[in-house]
């Protein structure tokens, strides 16, 4: 391995790989909790749903899941971009295009994270 990648999340394959697995578990737990809650509350009202998300542990779990999705998405998209948007496959323009797509992905993920925090902890 020559040049060390500077745009990968953990700058190490092992770290990215571990984050990808742990974040997948967090996302899976959240999906199970939410699907389970909806399954045992078939006639859910808005007030019940809002009350659920007022609870501290639900907010915490939601926040953890949002952050997990952010990390998971970045590692995944970065891997896809460095597979396909490369000088090898596309020629010289690939580097500029890849950096642009990476920045756009980061901007989108950051926007979603900030938005989610505002929904969860905002007024």
């Amino acid at each position: 391995m020559g040049v060390k990648p500077v745009t990968s999340l953990g700058r190490s394959g092992l770290s990215d790989w571990l984050i990808q697995r742990v974040s997948a578990v967090v996302i899976a737990v959240y999906v199970l909790v939410m699907v389970g809650y909806l399954a045992v509350h078939p006639d859910l009202s808005y007030l019940q749903w809002a009350a659920l998300h007022q609870q501290f542990w639900v907010r915490l779990l939601t926040l953890a899941t949002v952050l997990a999705i952010a990390a998971h998405a970045w590692i995944g998209v970065w891997a896809v971009l460095t597979d396909y948007v490369t000088v090898r496959l596309m020629g010289a323009k690939a580097t500029v295009l890849r950096i642009a797509l990476e920045l756009a992905t980061i901007a989108l993920i950051l926007a979603y994270v900030v938005w989610a925090i505002e929904i969860l902890w905002g007024a």
Binding site: M1, K4, P5, S8, S12, G13, L14, T82, D83, Y84
Partner: protein, 234 residues
């Protein structure tokens, strides 16, 4: 008569590769694909391919046979031919030199990266470095690799990043030396592998396992490397 379609490309003459159709009389026998290629060569001496031992030991005649990588010399027609049709292409993903002959340079460069030799700085014993039968057993399923490149050229991660991803063949050998009780450079070897490409471009789709003519399992070896990295890096 068997219908055979062969990838032809001679960069000195052709502007682009093309498929050429032949008919071969197999005499109703279940020949190996390499036998058919020898019959083709008798028909058309301009056809170029690599071969040597003709018994699955040298690893020269790796080809894409009816869409699946394998060694022509140990693949019987009955295993690959459908609707009386045989399609022969070079192993995918590496540059074609001519017809079925590919440039294996990138494949060997990845193999060289993993330092495929024993590293041991301790003083050499008078006769040899001994291994227990149990230690020797750990190399089974690893040392048998003949470097035919069927696995690495079946791997999409290797197609996209042949310069950065070591590929299943190289990684199987990387683990062969990590697992060797006589090697003392495990930490240094692991440090070379802990980037996002060398090992971790493997997404365990197991194309390598599906095509290996020696029935080896590079995906499992890569899993062992990940475990070793986890053990030393967490």
């Amino acid at each position: 008569m068997l219908n055979v379609s062969v990838y032809r490309y001679n960069p000195d003459v052709d502007s682009a590769p093309r498929m050429q159709d032949y008919q071969v009389d197999t005499g109703g026998k279940d020949l190996m694909v390499l036998d058919v290629m020898e019959l083709l060569k008798a028909q058309d001496p301009t056809l170029v391919f690599r071969r040597s031992c003709r018994e699955g030991v040298c690893g020269s005649d790796g080809l894409n046979i009816n869409g699946k990588n394998g060694l022509a010399c140990v693949t019987p027609l009955s295993e690959c031919v459908r609707n009386n049709r045989l399609v022969l292409r070079p192993l995918p993903g590496l540059p074609v030199i001519r017809d079925l002959v590919i440039d294996m340079g990138q494949f060997y460069a990845q193999y060289e990266k993993i330092q495929p030799w024993l590293i041991n700085d301790t003083p050499a014993p008078a006769i040899e470095r001994l291994q227990s039968p149990e230690e020797r057993e750990k190399l089974d399923g690893l040392y048998e690799c003949i470097l035919c490149a069927c696995c690495s050229t079946a791997c999409p991660s290797f197609w996209w990043n042949p310069d950065k991803f070591i590929g299943p063949a190289g990684l199987l050998q990387a683990y062969r030396f990590l697992a060797d009780s006589r090697d003392t450079a495990a930490e240094e070897r692991l440090a070379e592998l802990d980037d996002p490409f060398s090992v971790f471009r493997c997404h365990s789709i197991q194309n390598c396992v599906a095509v290996c003519p020696k029935e080896l399992n590079p995906t499992r070896a890569i899993g062992h490397i990940r475990t070793l990295l986890l053990r030393s890096g967490t």
